[in-house]
Structure formats: structure tokens, C-alpha cells
Amino acid sequence: MNRAKSTAIMMGALILSFLIFPMGGSSADQMADPKEAIRISNEALANYIQYGLTEKNAAAFGFKNLEDAKAAHIGQPYPVRIIDLSAVKDYQPGSGAKKMLRDPGIMWFPVMVGDTFRTKIEMVRIDDQWKPGEFGDTLKAKEVWAVGTQTKAIAEAKGMRDGYTSYIVHAPSLLATFFYLQSDDKEFLIPAMVNPERYGMDNGKVYSADEALRILKRFAKDIKPGTIR
């Protein structure tokens, strides 16, 4: 990728960040500095592709080949939140998801070639600095990306036109991933995971946060803490 193209993509991502973060919530806890995370994600992607990918392994990371990977750029990032197993077990119907969400210091970036999704790269906050995290894990990332492209339309359909918070929400012990949309009086969880059918859910279908958490609670009660899966 030449320098001019790279700079243009980085500028585009920065502009995008100004557009999405006010929409997606702009509280200080959401991220230390989104511009810094985006800048580092561009560097990290370039380094991972240059030093981590080969003709032999490029396909395993979601690319057609190494040339395809060299044309990759990052797309619109999403902040990540975590819901603990204990919080799901203790969930009181009607109490909502907002107070259960924990900030793990992770930003999720789609990796694109042109307009086409390839994989994901994460930025991780370590010692208050954004650093490169996982690159790959393409199957799970595809499901997240597919639902992520629908969230704006879903928010509008739900009347959240005046600004709303949007996160990717993981419940690691339940292998569950959602998009979370929240405005003043509304909270939704939209499944975005591999095998949502394990919970009788459908990816992209809009559940009230309460409805989704009631379902997860039914499954969470049988999970013993400290078990490896």
C-alpha cells in the first residue's frame, strides 16, 4: 500500500471516529483516546500483515492471499464491554443491562479490503496505553461484523435518532456476543455470535436487554465457576 493511500485511509478512519463516537457514546470511560487507538490500529495492522502473514497462512486469517491482505485497511471500530457470569446469574428481571457492563479496555476493529470484511483486529488498553491485541478469529468476527452493519438502521427503527450508546458486549463464560444499543429509556441486545441457536436466539434480531438477560440467566445457572471450556 503506498503512503498516500495509507494516509488517506487513516484520515478517513479519524474522521469516521469523530462521527461515530458521539453517536456511540462519548463518555470518558469509553476509551482513553479514540484517535490514538485508531492510529495504533493502522500501524498494528500493517505490522501484523508484514511480519505475521505469509502466502501459506493468509487464507486462515480470512484473506484470499497475501496480496489481498496487503490491501487491507481498518473500518469503523466498536468499543467492547463485558458481562460477568456472576452478574448474569444474579440478574434481577427488569433491572436492565447498563449497570452490568464492564469496560475491559478493548476496541474491536473490522479489517476490510475495499468494502468487504475480512477479519478483525483488537486494540487493548494496557497500562493506560492502546496496544495491538488479537488479529484473526475470523468466524466469530464475521458474525459480529454482519450484525454491526445493521445497528444504525435498527437504532433508527427503534426511534433512537437523537444519539445512543453502542457497544459490542461479550459474556465470555456463556460464549455469547451481542450488540448493545442504549438511549435514555431503551436498552437492546442484538445477538451477534456463532451458534445463537444454543439460546434459541437469532443473530440480528432485536431483544430488549431484559428479555435477552432472562434467557442467558436460565443457562448461566448451570455453569460452574472455574470450569475450563
Binding site: N47, Y48, Y51, G52, N57, A60, F61, V80, I82, D84, L85, S86, A87, R102, P104, G105, I106, E122, V124, I126, K131, P132, G133, E134, F135, G136, D137, T138, L139, K140, P172, S173, L175, V194, N195, E197, R198, D222, I223, K224, P225, G226, T227, I228, R229
Partner: protein, 228 residues
Amino acid sequence: MVAKRFIAIALILLMMGWFSGCCSPLPSDSHAVNLFPQHRDWWCWAATTEMVSDYYGHRVQQCDSANFVHGTPPNCCTGCIGNCPGWGWEWGATIIDIQNNWTHWDFTYQHDASALSWVDVKKTLSKQSNCRKSPIQAVWWWYDGMGMRTSGHVITITGYSEIRLTTLNMDLVFYNNPAPMDCSLNALNQCQQAATGGAAVLATYESFKQSGNRKWEDSFYQFKHTGP
């Protein structure tokens, strides 16, 4: 004179022994470990056991590990048919289960209740002489807001790369994640083989060790098959 010559020879022999005993990893190395997706939600430990045992030419199927650890649950060894609705999450494991399972299948191993240092990651994975030449079965643990472990997940580290440039210092690990599983439900609510499962991933060593509320805190490596 004789004594000096004897000392010189002894020193040379000592240095030869010293150097021949050293593990000197290359900047990058990897193992061709096949990626076996886990067949059930809670079989990451069994899937990574399958990956590592297969690498050593003595493949232990996931269902066989699960049967050993859990006492032959019904419909266990039926691939993606049978007990899919349960997703198998009563079939998780503990560290002791994983240890016993390796022993049962005639493998010896080294277990550390910690992450490996970057130096040890290189020494363990490197295929150079006197290095351990071993993939690493690494266990991540998730912690809740109270600092309690909630659940664990096992992945297989297959390679590393150490980048040392004037403008860039980067330590990378390559790993096979057995999740997501390769069974799913079709539109008729029947269990079936998914098109694919598992994932190839790379990350910096720093973020692999700790990312958010997830920490690498158990390591199995230096495997050796001792059975027939």
C-alpha cells in the same frame, strides 16, 4: 605443563558441553499443528489435546478425552449428532482433569500454573537443537469484577516471531483457537456439522498474556508420548 594442558582440555570440553547444551531459538519458528475445532461448547481442552496429541502422532479424539474425564456420557462420540441441544457444557474440565487425561493417554508433560515468559515461549516452541520443540497448551482464565475466576479456555500456541528493528520491537505468538465449535443446529433444529470451526489467530505476546479481564495462567508443554 601436563597440568596446564589438562586444564585447557577440560575447559574446552566444558565450553563444548556448555554450548552444545544451549537452546538458541531463531527469530521465528512454528509447528505444523492441525487445527481441530471443538465439537462441543465445553471441549476446548479436549480439542487442544487432540491437536497436540495428533502433532506427536498419537491422536486422542475429543470424545475419547471427554469419555475418560466424564465417564462416557451418552451420545458423546457421535460427532455432530446426538446431544447437541445440551451443547456439552456439563463437559468442561479442570486443570487436574487435563493432567489426568494426558497421563491416561500415555503422555508426559510439563505443567506450570503460570504463563511462560517470552524467553521460555521461544525455548519451548523452537525446533533448534536443545530447545523443547513443543507446542504449548495455554489456559486463559476470565475474571469478574470481584477478582474471581469465572471460566477458562484453552488454546494451542503453535509458533512465535520476534521482530527486532530499529523502529519496531514486536513479539508475536501464533495460536490455534478451537472455538467456535464445528457443530450447529439447522433450520429443522437438527444437529449438523458446520462448514467450519476453530480459528487461526495471532497476537502480541503482551496482549496474549493479558487482555481485558482475561489472563494466561496455566501452561502445558514439553509433551512426550511414552506408550506403545
